[in-house]
Amino acid sequence: MIFVKFALRNIRAYRNRSLVTILLTTLTTAMLVFATAFQDGSHDKMLENAVEIYPGYVQVTHRDFRDKPSLDNLIFDAAAVRAVLAGHPDIAAFGERFETFVLYAGPEKAVGGMLTGIEPEAEKKLSRLASSLVSGAYLESGDHNQLYMGYELARRLKVKVGDELSFVGTGADYSFAADNLQVKGIFKTALFEFDASAAFVNKQYFDEVMAAGNYASHFIVLPARPQESDVVAADLNKRLDQEYQAESWRTTMEGLVQAMLVDSIFGYLTLGVIFIVIFFVILIYTWLTVFARMREIGVLRAVGTLPGQVQQMLITESVLLALLSVLLGGIIGACLAYYFNLHPIYFSFSEEQFKQYGLAASSMPTAFEPLVILRDMAVMFVLAVGSTLYPIVKVNQVRPIEAIHHV
């Protein structure tokens, strides 16, 4: 307890030095907490966008469909899968899709693309297709040969809402399939590749023209709590027939998840470099402050204070200062993270760049995760105390008589 008293006295006595130390550590802590919150938040947002635009949180497919996506590996009993999904308590919505590759022929040229049969009403809850409408109208459940197509695909085919175009493709039974379609609506998701190749029709019509009744290439499932997608997928795998499998977005979008992980690693590496610099700044600053107190330490040693006791006193000072700064910095960082979580940062100037990278979001909320904030505070505390240890040990190695005469 005596060391705490000494330490507090010293902190007060060297007010300016203490203030600078507190300021430096507080700012660094706040920066770390905010940088982590921003990085995690933007990654979460990018993933959420990518998942919600079209792929969905959980996909049910034939077990071999992902490795061998052919017409032989479809869901051939969509009604059975539908029954399992309808009976699951943790599913908020689900819908079936049938994706196939076709050749679209516009008035001037033909372009290859995806033609997908969807359930218009269910799809509204599962993806952002309906809300991405830019002209015309979204599909309805009674629609016949009405097409809802990507903006870029429409541009390439030189068609607009109301125009006619045709498609030629292969039906679910490998037979020849072709029909004339009318453009009902055009969407733009900002995922350029998707907008350049995707178009949708009502599944009922699709089934007729593609001989795909009771078939689906996959079901999209929205769990009641999307953050529990893995749990829902695992549970569905127990309930579904062995022939089918449910996978969460973490598996279906593995590439993007890994890209985000790599980006996080680079983010932390950059932060790491910054913190090494900060570590040395604190170390040098502590060095200067401790050696400025050399005479005081020499006197303490001369009156019989043991080196260990001096060390303990200085470390206690360092711990108290670090604790205070980390708490302050943590609170400031947490407040910023919380504020920008509620009011996302909007990058209006970089919207085009975001699109180029296939990211639909230019407004990025920060993540507000108390546990992560505590982790960052702990890291800063260790860093702040750690950086003072070397000068403290070094100053104790000086002999008292030299210390007293130190200028």
């Binding site: 017409l71 032989d72 290859g112 030629v168 292969t170 490998y174 037979s175 020849f176 004339n180």
Partner: protein, 249 residues
């Protein structure tokens, strides 16, 4: 093939018009190509497409001049009847009566399945340009067949990295053709069976295409030539875009 035979083959080429072909192997490939294409050909054939789940039969008629011009009309089943395809050089068009439209098949669709079979659009367009796009090497032979390896020429816009062709010594027609991708993996095998005579010509009347990709397990496409007439005059009118609609009926 032993060195003596190669020498003899070389001598043969020297004596019998080496001016038209670069090597005895090229001469062999050219001869096979000519035997397959003829000057002109009219054929009626049946295509049976077998998949894991279904079996479909289609019938069609085709008219061809050399290797550059061909016209195909689907005659069965009724729902596909009247669909026509025109190939001139390396371009391909399709007419579909149901939508009353002629569509030029874009380059990006060349690897797509043709009529749901294991043949691709590219097969119809490029199959005949082997002498132009591939460099042939004789790798061996036995009593009945020559074995050739055809490697894609560096600048050739082709799909296959290598083609292994077995050629019948009796008919100078292919018997088995194996297609490998650029990584050297076997993608599909085409067998030419049941050679029959049509006038002075011999022609394989039963073709079996077996895709080797895992997702094509259980798939098989058979082409059975029901009737063929070679080297008789064919109306040039078949090989224009207007013909697609005109001869569709």
């Amino acid at each position: 093939m032993n060195p003596l035979k190669i020498l003899m083959a070389a001598m043969y080429v020297l004596v019998h018009g080496a001016a038209v072909s670069a090597s005895p192997v090229d001469d062999l490939v050219k001869r096979v190509e000519d035997n397959l294409n003829g000057k002109t050909a009219y054929m009626e054939f049946t295509m049976v497409v077998q998949t894991k789940r279904s079996k479909r039969t289609m019938k069609m008629d085709s008219w061809a001049i050399g290797k550059d011009k061909s016209f195909i009309k689907i005659t069965y089943p009724g729902k596909d009847s009247g669909i026509t395809f025109l190939k001139v050089d390396k371009a391909m068009w399709q007419y579909v009566p149901r939508i009353e439209k002629t569509i030029k098949i874009p380059a990006s669709m060349m690897l797509q399945s043709w009529m749901g079979s294991d043949f691709t659009n590219d097969d119809l367009v490029r199959e005949s340009s082997i002498t132009e796009d591939y460099q042939a090497t004789l790798v061996g032979d036995d009593d009945k067949e020559y074995f050739l390896d055809l490697f894609a020429r560096p600048e050739a816009p082709v799909v296959w990295g290598r083609i292994r062709m077995h050629i019948s010594k009796k008919f100078f027609l292919p018997t088995t053709v194996s297609y490998y991708d650029e990584e050297g993996a076997l993608v599909r095998v085409l067998d030419y069976l049941e050679v029959k005579s049509f006038g002075e010509r011999f022609y394989p009347t039963h073709w079996v295409m077996l895709p080797q990709a895992p997702e094509k397990e259980g798939h098989r496409t058979e082409v059975i030539i029901d009737h063929a007439v070679f080297d008789e005059e064919i109306d040039e009118a078949y090989f224009s875009k207007r013909a697609l609609k005109r001869f569709s009926r």
